[in-house]
């Protein structure tokens, strides 16, 4: 009976749809961690970007302006992370928690300031799905992969781009080197701080896009629980995906499927448990996945190690 629920085109399409913010967030996290900085602010940055993107879209009437605003918010927050973790070299765990608290607080504060405390939340007309002519007609694969939001296509196109950048370009090599051995990078003439800063800017921008997707494609209004741990889950996906963009996408799709499954089970009433237990599923899955993949030794060697050239 449960299998019937799963093996439907709609389920797979939903899995892909729910995976998109995780794909974007995990890609963002890969950039930061490959450069040696843990972007633990991801949860708050995603929320703040979602809020700003929604507001921009609401007032301008342009969804794409909203996307741009969310990405810009992410970029600015990436710079804030860089100031704290790279320039000042502060503890990346505590910074991440502080940035998440601050960014979430800011998101709530400004949303309330702008939209007040009305009982009907303001909403926008979200992105429509864009069927790709021809491809969307393919049975099964068409509706699953080629009848999605424009942002979804962008997210999945970013994966090969990120992989190419990280592993095939000089700038990507520099980024990976500062994450593995900043001393080697510095003695090769690379500006470690600036390279890490750029990585965090990319990271923040991608996380910002994830926020935009949540508000402008997946849902049509902003709510305080819109991120609810998706940022944290991205951290686990990166470990699971061994810091490789392609594997991270695989992990994200798996989690999209778990999320889609729990939603299906909730709405279908196929099994009789409180829906909260189903909501719990993605977090339980994350915990289990972390336990299974924890021992792998693929983490960038200089992850979470601040670099100060002249510190004695």
């Amino acid at each position: 009976m449960i299998l019937d629920q799963i093996l439907q085109v709609g389920f797979f399409a939903a899995a892909v749809r729910l995976a998109v913010p995780l794909v974007l967030g995990a890609l963002g996290e890969v950039f930061a961690e490959r450069a040696g900085v843990l972007n633990l602010g991801i949860e708050g940055i995603m929320l703040l970007a979602a809020m700003v993107g929604f507001t921009a879209a609401y007032f301008s009437g342009s969804l794409w302006l909203g996307v741009l605003a969310a990405a810009a918010t992410g970029l600015v927050m990436g710079l804030v992370m860089a100031l704290l973790c790279v320039v000042l070299g502060l503890d990346q765990t505590v910074v991440g928690i502080g940035v998440t608290m601050t960014a979430s607080g800011l998101a709530y504060f400004s949303y309330r300031l702008i939209f007040g405390d009305g009982s009907i939340p303001p909403s926008v007309q979200p992105f429509p799905t864009v069927p790709i002519p021809g491809l969307s007609a393919i049975p099964f694969l068409g509706p699953v992969l080629f009848n999605q939001f424009a942002l979804t296509y962008i997210a999945f196109l970013l994966v090969p781009l990120a992989s190419w950048f990280l592993f095939r370009t000089p700038a990507g090599l520099a980024l990976r080197t500062v994450g593995e051995n900043p001393y080697a990078a510095a003695s090769a003439g690379i500006d470690v701080g600036w390279t890490r800063t750029r990585a965090l800017m990319i990271s923040g921008t991608l996380v910002g896009l994830a926020g935009a997707y949540l508000n402008l494609a997946a849902f049509s209004s902003f709510s305080f629980g819109i991120v609810s741990g998706r940022g944290w889950i991205c951290l686990a996906l990166v470990v699971l995906g061994r810091w490789n963009p392609w594997s991270c996408v695989g992990a994200a799709l798996l989690f999209g499927a778990v999320d889609a499954l729990q939603l299906r089970l909730q709405t279908s009433g196929a099994i009789d448990v409180p829906y909260q237990l189903l909501l719990m599923l993605p977090y339980v899955a994350t915990l289990i996945a972390m336990t299974l993949s924890a021992r792998n030794a693929h983490a960038p060697a200089a992850l979470m190690k601040p670099f100060r050239s002249e510190d004695r």
Binding site: L84, D91, G98, S104, G105
Partner: protein
């Protein structure tokens, strides 16, 4: 290009150390006054309203203290865990475990009335301890990242609690997702008639002293610091790193669990979805402000409690969104972190000559 570099200070000054949190808080309040201005209010007025509504009279003061007590406990929980470098971000979940167990035991009429409160405290502390030892065990044995695992457990425990409240514990008469009320004998006695200054506040204060004694005067406290600062050297010196870490995690979780017991026994007399407005996360800020010193946790918790308690009234009077309190918490955590680096390092600012032409 601007270049900053840090030089380690060889000396540390007592005055500078004591001033750090004050400077951090001041910087945070100045930064956040920008938001108040955005909201169209005079920051001084807003802050004054917070101070007045947090400390202006017997009821406000005791309400602030009652709000501070769970923050003292979660702050201590974070302080003990961070000392051993166990990143317990899970005080929120451990608090909920304590609250659930307290509500469960507090409603048992088959138990002797006099045993209810002690049993609630013991069970809440024990449950919180177990909830913290699981991720600590996963960290020491399986090398699972503790930040993510404790965060995930927060969500898992929260949803488990919500399932309980909308399932077996559902109030059949009102239909609200609230647990049954605890018995009268399980309600914490008041320390001051006419206020909500309950036994839990005393528990928080005693816990602060006890944790200070533990950290400063016991071999376990010594071992916790040694393992936290250098686990490898501690192992070489013969300390059992895993046992020390698990002990610290247990103490940390127990303290957070007690915070939940206090909320159920002293304030709410039942469990509902909003039992904790993020006390677990506030505890992280409290611990950092206190520089992980258990005695410093008390003033730090009172400060944050005053901000959160006063923000409600401030919001009602001035229209500044109540979430200002959340921003202040986050910014204070960051300014404190920045203040710490300036306490141990001297900043050198220089300009780098132009980059290579090619």
């Amino acid at each position: 290009m601007l270049r900053l570099s840090f030089e380690r200070r060889d000396e540390t000054s007592v005055v500078r150390n004591l001033m750090l949190p004050v400077v951090a808080v001041a910087a945070s309040l100045v930064l956040c006054s920008g938001l108040i201005l955005l909201a169209g209010t005079n920051p001084i007025l807003a802050y004054w309203t917070i101070v007045k509504s947090a400390f202006g009279g017997k009821i406000p003061i005791t309400e602030t203290l009652a709000k501070a007590s769970p923050m003292v406990l979660t702050g201590l929980a974070a302080a003990v865990a961070f000392r051993v470098r166990f990143w317990n971000i899970g005080a929120e979940g451990q608090l909920l475990v304590g609250a659930m167990l307290a509500a469960f035991i507090g409603a048992r009429s088959e138990l002797p009335a006099a045993s209810l409160i002690p049993l609630m405290l013991v069970a809440g502390a024990g449950g919180g301890a177990l909830a913290a030892m699981l991720p600590a065990f996963m960290k020491t044995r399986l090398k699972v990242d503790d930040v993510v695992s404790t965060l995930m457990l927060n969500f898992i425990i929260l949803y488990a609690m919500m399932a309980l409240l909308s399932g077996p514990w559902k109030d059949t008469t009102t239909g609200w997702p609230d647990s049954p009320d605890i018995l009268g004998a399980a309600e914490f006695p008041n320390l001051w008639r006419g206020t909500r200054l309950h036994l839990g506040v005393l528990v928080g204060a005693l816990a602060a002293v006890a944790t200070w004694l533990l950290v400063r005067w016991t071999t376990l406290g010594f071992a916790i610091d040694a393992v936290g600062e250098n686990a490898r050297a501690a192992h070489h010196a013969g300390l059992d790193v895993q046992r020390v870490t698990l002990s610290a995690a247990a103490i940390s979780g127990a303290l957070a669990g007690l915070a939940g017991v206090g909320e159920v026994g002293g304030i709410q007399y039942q469990v509902m979805g909003s039992i904790s407005p993020g006390y677990g996360y506030s505890g992280l800020v409290v611990a950092m402000l206190a520089r992980l010193n258990p005695l410093g946790v008390v003033p730090a918790a009172i400060f944050l409690a005053a901000i959160t308690a006063g923000a409600d009234e401030m919001s009602r009077q001035t229209g500044v969104p109540v979430f200002l309190a959340d921003v202040i918490q986050g910014v204070t955590l960051l300014t404190m972190l920045i203040a710490l680096i300036f306490a141990s390092h001297r900043l050198r600012i220089g300009w780098r000559a132009g980059r290579r032409a090619s």
